[in-house]
Symmetry: C2
Subunit: 315 residues, 2 copies
Amino acid sequence: MENKITTLFKIKYPIIQGGMVWCSGWRLVSAVSNAGGLGLLGAGSMYPDVLREHIQKTKQSTDKPFGVNVPLLYPDIDELMKIIVDENVKIVFTSAGNPKTWTKFLHDKNITVAHVISSSKFAKKCEDAGVDAVVAEGFEAGGHNGREETTTLALIPQVRRATSLPLIAAGGIATGNAMLAAITLGADGVQIGTRFALSAESSASEEFKKICCTLNEGDTMLCLKKISPTRMIKNNFYNRIEEAEARGANADELKEILGRARSKKGIFEGDMDEGELEIGQIASLVKEIIPVNKIINEIVSEFNETANNISAIRL
Amino acid sequence: MENKITTLFKIKYPIIQGGMVWCSGWRLVSAVSNAGGLGLLGAGSMYPDVLREHIQKTKQSTDKPFGVNVPLLYPDIDELMKIIVDENVKIVFTSAGNPKTWTKFLHDKNITVAHVISSSKFAKKCEDAGVDAVVAEGFEAGGHNGREETTTLALIPQVRRATSLPLIAAGGIATGNAMLAAITLGADGVQIGTRFALSAESSASEEFKKICCTLNEGDTMLCLKKISPTRMIKNNFYNRIEEAEARGANADELKEILGRARSKKGIFEGDMDEGELEIGQIASLVKEIIPVNKIINEIVSEFNETANNISAIRL
């Protein structure tokens, strides 16, 4: 398969690995890129020096394209961007901010830019900002999430109508069938988070990966809507948030309960009770932790097998 | 196309029209059945005598199969079921209740039974109850909705794994592409609500249909979670609910704000400020009110065209 996404990023499969906090270090990124996808370092959970180290280690581990995901609200963003340029990174995915702010700077350094959005209104803003591709992410995605609560199934066709930019679907995609469904809806490729967060090469703690493999439907929930909507597992910490929200707690009180470094405590350090356990709805479909190349092989075979079956179906 | 769903209901296309309150009278139902889908009367908004009249008028308007959707929490349910049997209705879709309660009764009268669910846990319960098909409905659907908030994209593959029963996907499906995506995910057919609620033959008020054609992404929201999660348009009434929920109002207070007959006031009587305007997320994709046969033709051509395109794609 060759299309807008494989051509833009010079990759074999239009499969992007979401750059997730506490999961997406050099091991995951190089494994995905070596298997024919596009690995993205998750700069959101890295101090600048840590990011530099991970970029260098990724370059030592793969000669394939890879990128960095940068949440634009990152406090030391200037330093981060400087490192990205210094280290000759060629692909940046930006999220959580205005695509206008950094796209020109990055383009001037010959860096390809994709931006993550949750509505087609922002697809137009991405066009105006000159980004090279958009990631449209639905309500079912883990972690930070759009306020519109539009699901991937509803979002992709609308972003497709709004823009001709290369379109990457995200949220709820963990299998070859879901990837084919996304392409059917008009996407050119997919960004997969949860499934790779739960791979052998993910830097998430074993405790986190293990608990994710036991989830049922309904075991994650979008909460913290008065601060920034976030999907997480319903654990003790979530229950406290949920109780506070039900009685009408305001943003300040919620911030106090949230405190600092909760996602690190949960995902990276393995505190399953008091950590913020960000993961997507589709985690309940994942039942074992396997290496990235096996995940990608499974996705590719399922995609092709289902495409074969579909090719015989007409109404 | 012949499959489990077309065979079970003896219809041409595996397209079910959701039995929606205030939208699904005999005009809509007979139009859908005449066009090769399966029309369902929405008994949830009909007094028993009204249902009887609509069944009789449907029978006069089509010789094709049609059915009735019955919310099992309906207060006069015994009377409703008696009318369904008296009038020789052959297909019943049940929702909002335990599938065990009525399935045997209906089967004894030779009636085919489908049940609406929002999680794969309930798929097993449907199997145990002996229902003939399940409708798995995701978070993006309009009106009353599951507590798990699982989206259609995440739900369908999990229900598919949980049961071999004929599977109808619902929530966020308004186009041939989305129908093909649902089949890709493992569904045998689709239930379409919003698109048919916004057809020429729908009994919803012109005011309601018109406002739905102006919606953008994020203009519907799931609320009333302390009573029964319901997706509706953000209008004045919604704003009052939202304000009350944000300050922690309990179920009793919400019920008082809700009052009675709000969905009738909005959808049927056309009060766009104070009515409860139930509609799915995918309404923002619908921009004009057209007749049912044109809708079904569009869905079928798009499905076939995209299936043609997909049939050439392999990873």
